[in-house]
Amino acid sequence: MRNPKIRGLIVAGATLAAVAASAQVAPTPTPSTRPGAARPAVVRPTVGPITRPPLPGGPGGIDWAGAVGGLRQSGGGNSPVGRRLDPAAVDKTRLPILLPADPDLMGGARIYSFGDYYSITANLTGARVSLTGAAETTPLPATSRLTLLNIGPEQLVIQRTVDGQLASFVRYGVLYTAELRCDAPSDPRCRTDTYVRSLVAKSTVVVMGKAARQAAGLGA
């Protein structure tokens, strides 16, 4: 160690070895923590933050004036479309119910209402249609971005699903969906968005039950 060159080389070598050793440490494994235990606060610029469970947005924001206009345009509630829906479920729904102007499709439709959300199911030969309306949406984390190639009027977005096509759009401040699901994956109606687009295009019939009429200021 009397030679300073040798000493310098040893120090440099040790430093290199230490750096190499630290480089081979695998990323932190998933820890064994008990449910509810505090997670370590690790901040990584390339990773989205750990977020709390999202709080749903409020049910406000329904454009009742617009919905009443839609109701009037579609016959003031006298349209034959939707007449065979369960009236109790319709009355319970605090949203403008939006239906396609297709009496054949809607003739055997079933409605399931949760008050601030409804789901309607109808049968086609070899396929089924679902229509939903929701007052609430859940906010996505600020770090998330939606990769949507095409957003149409009324925020129309069409997504190819495993078994069909899912369209969603916003009207009267309500998030509506129209979904087609086919029994056979190869059914051409489900392979392109033509059918579901036509379903959205003819979704013009507004139906309001007691709860919706009250909310719209129409009385029950």
Binding site: L9, A12, P35, V42, T51, R145, V162, A184
Partner: protein, 304 residues
Amino acid sequence: MRAPLIFLILILLVVLALVGYNSGWFGSAATGPSPTTAGDILPGAPVGPGAEPDEPVGDGGLEQLPDEAEAQGPVDPVNTPDVPAAGTFGHFPAGELLPKSGSGYLDRTTWSPQLCFPFAEDAFANSQVYGAGGGMGPKDKPSQCDASNYSLPWRDNFCESRGHASPLCANGKGHQGQDIRPATCKKDKHWVVAAEDGIITDMGTYTVTLTASAPPHRVYRYLHMRMNQLEVKEGASVKAGENLGKASNDFGGTPTTIHMHFEIRSGVAGTSTDGKPVKLHTFLPPYQSLVAAYDRKRAGQGCP
């Protein structure tokens, strides 16, 4: 002068060896974080290649038509988020997909905080397409009953490369849910249960849709159960944890692998990649909710 030179060469060799090991030059590189209990097999899951003869898998496990199949996704080995996820069992973090199967969704939101684990028994979340016996699986593991499919660690496969729309995925396409294999490689044996209180709002030829009663009314979709032996019908009100049917491989006449494809959908408000605010009904990553639910189940907590 020779001694320092030899020492320097030795140091360089050691450095090269360590870097090479870490980069996988020797064929055994770490491909991601090592889960806590990687390789563990849960009790009650004594499966392996001989567990049940494999059926031919009609779609190769892709759940889509061949002409719609998405090419293998970009190799993304650097997406190895190391933010720990809570858990008492072996599982990779959310977003950590199998190598060369696409880019995962890295946000760690638990979208369904009170989710009831959708199997009555133990189950294994992993990729049914890129895992053993899948259409894009390893060629040296042709059996879907391979023990690797029925052992820990769990693996996220939301956003795995597929041709279906999935706007939260990096390129707007990807797997829309999580594949979960039942406790053993036996179809029509293991119960699938309701994830929340709700109503069965639709049943297709290989799909069951459960809409939750409580806001925000998440929609859970279960695919590939034994459809002619279901415990529920459209319109049925169900409680969280109630039996719906048994895990199988139904897929519109052509069988897929024995697994349950599990989706969570909801109305969301967000921003598009070009900065536009948008509301839509779409697919949310189930993995983090499933991990939390499985933790609760393992801790003996019932479904809420």
